[in-house]
Symmetry: C2
Subunit: 339 residues, 2 copies
């Protein structure tokens, strides 16, 4: 079997929290060709539980992220099951012993990939959906001189308190299943995964999405219950519970200022982002509401706020769920890249 | 010990679903005195898991619901632990065998109390928060000639699909706990109750409430985690799991047209409400968004829509959580009663 992605050896990755991920791996996929000047790079990190192939809907000929023009790198987030994760880490840091990983750690690892593997010193654009947006903001603050543009969509530079609480619900549902066994499960904690999926279902799409029955009318499910089982439970069941909890922690502790550079001064971290930024929250996103993006944009020197005009809630931004939203997003990215 | 409420013997209550609640009980509390003309009656049903004493914040001297002027009846919802419920029903209809109860069944029982116990033929106002609002709408459609006014707040006449999904998350979290044991628990399924509480926490208050740290600044909790444990888990832990699931089913299946009168024709049921109605959704309520109320009001012959201008989400409407919201609500009810 040939894999559709590559793996970069990170060596011993010392994490913010103090643990060392020995012989750590960063799985990634690239599209297009790095030109001689190495100035056609787009970096496009993954989202909560997503893997590189679930980012590909925004890449294609004639699209903003066109492999004919750009060298597009999709790095898999630590914990997502392809890069180093609870599910694939050898003992003793495997399973529930897998350490806490931050957005800072992820971006540090990605920086290593970009510079050491490809010798890239400058990036044209960093963009991403949801936790991909968090990593996008993180890039902007962590390596402010390294890119021209950032375009985070349906995400934030710091996990809001409400977003934190929403995730507490997801986590509590998953871990209420005794089969989870504090992470030492021997078989899949299916009931907890299904419960987490049902909790997520109300948050992922907007009230209007459900009111308009777009689960049936647009996505083609046969009933609301079919949508909950086939789409939502089907989405969570194949995923490893410890992986999900690792990434959930990364998300809940997302904060581009939580590092030595900014020492928790969120405004300073936002203010340090030099890239021209196009910040696109979803107009009806229930856990990344536009109000949080307004604060971010107001504190960034070169940022524009452009809410996504969609009733698809958080899923307006991915993963290619609604063709109309993809079209809109692609058009904005084209305009940004042309600027 | 003397109880602060009375109990009405409903006798054998035949439910919509076909079961008979034999020797059923309706617990209620009254305030004020029924006048000779019996025309000073206000009916004020309870909300999800709430008991009569948790409705009292809207009753008081000088308030709209003034016991000096009105005879106020607070009937406890079936399943809430005081009226007939899984937790207090004798065998064989106890625990998880407690039958499905609808809003129609509840209102039918309350009608029996009002007419048979007190000989009341006309009600001045029916009002309620949340599931109390559902029962308020239900009264308006089920006994359209019986009241002058209805004032449902932060609730709906029919459970929306999104609201249904939100409740699926609460239910899935509670029932993911193996200790729940399909309802045949011998000890409290504490982990599931705590998980349900955490799921609910993100829904109960708005993004803005959390952004403004009103859990700390207004409610006085010492941290977000303290709010999640002390307020939310503390709220759910004393409640019986089967009671919660019984009321959740009532909520999810709330629909004022789901009966012989209207045969599922929701517009017809709304159109049949003769009472002058003041419908007050919470402006930032995440599960009863104003849009659903707009549809209801547009299809009611004599209704006014007045969203509650509050960032307290669903809890703008109760249970007396924010004094400013109580003041606003009380003022609207005064104006309505004076009309």
């Amino acid at each position: 079997m040939s894999l559709d992605y590559s793996t970069f050896d990170l060596g011993d990755l010392v994490l913010q929290g103090g643990a060392t991920l020995r012989d750590a791996k960063l799985a990634y996929k690239t599209f297009g060709t790095l030109n001689a000047a190495k100035d056609n790079v787009i970096l496009y990190p993954t989202w909560y539980s997503g893997q590189h192939y679930e980012n590909e809907w925004l890449v294609g000929e004639g699209m903003a992220l066109d492999p004919a023009k750009y060298f597009i790198i999709i790095p898999n987030m630590l914990g997502n099951g392809l890069s180093s994760s609870p599910s694939n880490m050898p003992e003793p840091y495997n399973g529930p012993r897998f350490p806490k990983v931050t957005a800072y750690d992820n971006v540090k690892a990605q920086h290593k990939l970009v510079t050491e593997q490809f010798g890239i010193e400058h990036i044209r654009l960093v963009t991403g959906w949801s936790m991909g947006a968090l990593q996008t903001f993180q890039w902007g603050a962590q390596y402010p001189d390294m890119m021209d543009l950032i375009a985070p969509f349906c995400g934030s530079a710091k996990c809001s308190r409400h977003n934190f609480v929403f995730l507490e619900g997801v986590k509590a549902a998953l871990t209420a299943d005794a089969a989870w066994n504090e992470g030492w499960y021997t078989a899949k904690p299916a009931r907890g995964l299904r419960a987490a999926a049902r909790v997520y279902a109300g948050w992922g799409f907007s009230q209007t999405f459900y009111r308009q029955k777009l689960d049936i009318e647009a996505l083609g499910y046969s009933s609301l219950e079919d949508f909950l089982v086939a789409f939502w439970e089907g989405f969570f069941l194949p995923k490893d519970a410890n992986n999900l909890l690792t990434m959930l922690w990364t998300w809940q502790n997302g904060d581009i200022s939580a590092n030595e550079l900014y020492k928790g001064d969120f405004k300073a971290a936002l203010g340090a982002i030099k890239a021209k930024a196009l910040v696109m929250p979803g107009q009806t996103d229930l856990y990344f509401p536009p109000e949080d993006s307004e604060f971010e944009v107001a504190n960034m020197p070169n940022a524009t706020l452009l809410p996504m005009p969609s009733v698809w809630g958080h899923f307006a931004g991915g993963p290619g769920t609604n063709p109309e939203d993809v079209k809109w997003l692609d058009a904005q990215l084209k305009e940004l890249l042309a600027s």
